[in-house]
Symmetry: C2
Subunit: 170 residues, 2 copies
């Protein structure tokens, strides 16, 4: 990814350099937290680049992949829009725009309950199932089976992220 | 944040549930990596919500804050656009759009070297310095000094994220 072509005043690790500057400015209590937050932001960017590269041939983003994956897991392949937002932990407007795009791609269709017309369901199409199964195989092989850490460290990282989620109210 | 108001079929932890389904589908080698990647994506979202809430009164995003912070650290408050991209590990077009917005906010100005007119420098204004120092105090107090993990775990999480960055070529 970024090989930092900055010449002879190249900084090897911008986050370590930021940590040094934070301490030099007397922000001692904040330096480690800054480095952790900034590191997570950077790792998120690098992981999404890997995920997006795998999903690009399927014309999917990770957000739309997650919607399809959830629907493929659901009984009868359908979930209400409301419930999908809470399961995916995203804002209703994000679900709406993802599903609208997936519908244009003919991977999902929207249905309305005849007994309660306020309830809109997203329903995966046969083509959507084919696409999400193929994309899952590739994501598993190319990202999730080689996430960049040894198996024990993957578990440690997940536990720490789970603690961070809990601290933020998840 | 999302309190998951899904009723009596509420799923307590969507990521744990996804991990269970991954294993149930026989994707055993990928389940832990999937949980780690998805957890990092979620933590990134939660941390950025906290950071954005602090920066909103300053009309800054984290990306624009990082540009301002870098310029305030730099000698004479100036960095070339090219070098800024490599230090912030972002695409040149992202730097250009962030700096253009900061210039409209009168927090940054763009200068051209008279000796080499191809080199464009971003330079922080006095007002930019005031804003970034105030924003840094608030970010330190409200996010970086209480990142959501105990001090030793902050270091462990940072080390794991550093290893993940290295594995991805950082």
């Amino acid at each position: 990814m970024s090989s930092n072509p900055a010449g002879d005043d190249e900084i090897r690790d911008p986050i370590r350099e930021a940590h040094r500057l934070w301490e030099a400015h007397g922000w001692l209590e904040a330096a480690n937290g800054m480095a952790m937050v900034t590191s997570i932001v950077r790792v998120h960017q690098l992981l999404l680049e890997r995920v997006d590269a795998v999903l690009k041939p399927y014309d999917l983003t990770f957000a739309r992949y997650e919607v399809l994956r959830l629907l493929a897991f659901a009984s009868n392949g359908r979930v209400s829009m409301t419930r999908m937002g809470s399961l995916l932990q995203v804002h209703p407007t994000s679900v709406t725009s993802a599903v609208a795009r997936l519908e244009r791609q003919e991977l999902v269709e929207r249905l309305r309950r005849t007994t309660d017309r306020r309830v809109v369901l997203a329903s995966i199409t046969d083509h959507g199932r084919e696409v999400v199964e193929a994309a899952t195989v590739r994501l598993n092989e190319e990202v999730f089976e080689q996430p960049g850490l040894a198996p024990a460290e993957v578990l440690t990282a997940t536990r720490l992220m789970t603690d961070l989620r809990a601290a933020a109210g998840d």
